[in-house]
Amino acid sequence: MRSKLEIIFISISFIFTTFLFIIIGSLFVIPSPQGFVESLFSNEMMSALKITLSTSILAAFFVMLVAVPTAYSLSRYQFPLKSLVKSILDLPMAFPEIVLGIALLMILGDQFLGNFLESIGINIVFTTAGIIIAQFFVALPYAVRILYSTFNYVNPRFEFVSRSLGYGEFETFKNITLPLAKGGIFASSVVTLARCIGTFAAVLLVGGGTYLKTETLPIAIYYNLSLGNIDNAITAAILLVLISFVAIFVLEKYAYQNIEGMG
């Protein structure tokens, strides 16, 4: 016999999951199969898919390179202004990404960094490099967040034991900490990648959203809606749902097992 609380809570999860499922599922019934296939293999969709995946994978890779040491120091070390660093890192999660987009645009504008970068031949705004930078800053806070709790769960005692057995700091980090945090690192990579793929406003502003050049899938949805080309817009949306589904599926299957097994 289930308790009342159990029944109520389970019903709430079921009701709203069903709503969400119906909402997402409705996307798949709108376009005709023909229309879907046609838009899927159109020049625009293939280009948007390619741009989205290549920029997101690169951005996610750079995010992880930065997020692992950042999260580890937040979790293990005491240093001045630590709580300030933590708050600043969390900040972009709370405000809309367009704020980040406009800020990036301003700092990359003529007055500041932009002049210098341009003089050494680096163009960021209106290029795929701009897309990657926008995705990087949008996704970084999420990666740091997840990795921070991951490292908090890794028992420092294992690290102490390793050190006391004569292993150096780097060897310990590489052979003890990272393997123990494997699940969390995997989970945050997937979430980071998903976040990079889904970035819209910041990527639109910094990348420019030019057709076939800096048009990512989320921009393709917006662009085709504005043209009244519903088939293309929905196809891009379905592609995003499918990519997210694969990401989340992989996450559920592998990452959580590892986190549970971590002890």
């Binding site: 609380l5 645009l105 932009g114 209106f126 030019t210 809606l225």
Partner: protein, 267 residues
């Protein structure tokens, strides 16, 4: 937690949900309430239309004008799929031809109102010394245009460049085709581009005012669109909708349009 507490949480949750639904206007926005009309309007008309709506509502207490903004494609898709809306105010009158062909418009209600005039917008003080369309093709000039399919001003830009014969030269200078017109002003004021082709109302009013310099395009080179209004066959409240159309085309309405940088068609 005992059942009493669960009940309290349940009641609070229900109250919040009901309050939320009321606040969202699902129950109050229906067609049955008198004095409500829905207008589909071009995104470029937003500031002027919001002002016209506020003035109209103030003069006619109890009426509500709901305006949905979008560019031509979005507006047409909305009309096509929803088959509702009392009136359309597109950024270009050619929209009306398509809508008429589909039988969506009450033909004798279509009226031209103001002009949508493309201009050259440059950074304050005109540091690159741009004086005409041909200058956009000079080497080293960074140009931003609206997307040539998705935005009205993007389409107009191509027409202008075709007329002056500068299309090829300018195209090689274009660093971005922006899918939204607002991006163009942002890129110009933030120094990312030297010049953009935008409509006059955007460059001369609101936030952009005083931050960019405007260069007029001679009329024989220009591609000027007309903003107009018309009632749809789906209207549920023809009386009020006609009243609103009369207001936005009246001399008082035209003053409001002019305040936002638009020129009346008969000027």
């Amino acid at each position: 937690m005992n059942s009493k507490q669960i009940a309290i949480i349940g009641i609070v949750a229900i109250i919040i949900i009901v309050a939320g639904i009321y606040a969202s206007g699902i129950f109050t926005g229906g067609n049955s309430a008198k004095g409500n009309i829905t207008v589909l309007a071009g995104a470029g008309t937003m500031k002027a239309m919001n002002d016209l709506k506020a003035t109209f509502e103030e003069k006619n207490p109890g009426t509500t004008v709901n305006i949905q903004y979008g560019n031509s494609g979005e507006l047409f898709a909305t009309l096509d799929t929803q088959k509702s809306a009392d009136m359309v105010v597109p950024g270009d009158l050619t929209f009306m031809d398509n809508a008429k062909n589909k039988g969506y418009m009450i033909n004798d209600t279509i009226k031209p109102i103001v002009k949508h005039i493309p201009v050259i917008a440059v950074q304050k003080g005109n540091p690159k010394n741009i004086t005409n369309i041909t200058d956009l093709g000079r080497s080293g000039i960074k140009v931003a245009l609206g997307d040539t399919n998705g935005t009205a001003v993007g389409k107009q830009s191509i027409k202008i460049l075709n007329k002056t014969g500068d299309l090829a030269a300018v195209k090689s200078n274009v660093v971005v085709y922006a899918p939204t017109v607002n991006q163009l002003m942002t890129y110009l004021t933030s120094g990312q581009v030297d010049v953009a082709i935008v409509t006059e109302d955007i460059a001369t009013t609101g936030e952009a005012q005083g931050k960019v310099d405007v260069i007029q395009i001679p009329e024989n080179q220009n591609s000027i669109a007309t903003i107009g209004a018309g009632l749809t066959v789906f209207t549920q409240n023809k009386g009020l909708t006609t009243k609103f159309e009369d207001f936005i085309t009246s001399s008082e309405g035209l003053t409001i349009w002019q305040k936002h940088g638009f020129k009346p068609v008969n000027q």
